[in-house]
Amino acid sequence: MRRVLIVDDSPMVRKMIKKALAMPDYEIIGEASNGNEAVELFGRLHPDLITMDVTMPVLGGLEASKKILKTDPTAKILLLSAMGDEDLLAQAKEIGIKANARKPFTADELLKAVRSLTGD
């Protein structure tokens, strides 16, 4: 079972992700609504996978991912964003983020992106 930390400032998106991952393979162990909370929860909970929004108040997703990957370079982060321009994706890749999915995503699209990261 994969332990998942959901990071998004939108309750609607967090709900969509939980619904898509509501299966025996995944356990949602925490939710964060900004990058600072994400970094704190990552340190405490050590999830197998993080779904990470980009635009969030307090601390954004790219900055939070950088902090998380600095403490654990093996952390698996799935970037979920409405934006998918080449410069952003290049920035994400440079930070060490290995997978991304565009919003709005269907449950199947999200699962496919998650599995590309976990190798399931």
Binding site: S10, P11, M12, T55, A82, M83, D85, D87, L88, P104
Partner: protein
């Protein structure tokens, strides 16, 4: 920024809103018109999402749903049957606006490499005759027919 380029940008936003709306609600909006606004302000009624963006091109997107179509969007996305605007309605519209703006900005960034346009978090308003004033930016309105009523996009922008 010349008018031809401004209109091109408006189409990025219009196409983004149409494609996101179609994917999330399984309904294709119909574009009814685009016009450059002469006044420096707009006055709107309904549920209004404001998404700012900054970079080489900066400005803001306003998405204005009339009250009925605003509730339809909330209910369709969340699988509910709410009859009045509530906090969750506003959150839903905020995220919808964020996604639409993100799609438009993606197209702009890909067409104009190095622009590095980024979104700021959205704000959502609900009310009657709310006035939005534009400071030193041209703005355009695009009207679309959506489920239950009308959606008006108002985009203000400038080249930094």
């Amino acid at each position: 920024m010349d008018e031809a380029l401004e209109k091109k940008f408006m189409l990025y936003f219009a196409n983004a809103v149409a494609s996101v709306y179609t994917k999330m609600l399984d309904f294709q909006p119909k574009m009814e018109g685009i016009k450059k606004e002469e006044k420096t302000w707009v006055k709107e009624t309904g549920v209004i999402t404001l998404v700012p963006f900054n970079g080489k091109f900066s400005g803001r997107l306003l998405l204005v749903f009339d009250p009925l179509s605003a509730l339809i969007l909330h209910n369709e996305i969340n699988g509910e049957s709410t009859k009045t605007v509530n906090d969750e309605t506003l959150f839903t519209h905020g995220e919808f606006g964020n996604i639409c703006a993100g799609h438009a900005i993606t197209e702009i960034n890909n067409a104009f490499r190095g622009s590095n346009v980024r979104l700021a978090p959205p704000s959502v308003f609900s009310g009657k005759e709310l006035t939005f004033f534009n400071f030193k930016m041209n703005h355009y309105s695009i009207v679309m027919a959506v489920m239950g009523g009308k959606l008006t996009l108002n985009v203000a922008l400038k080249e930094s």
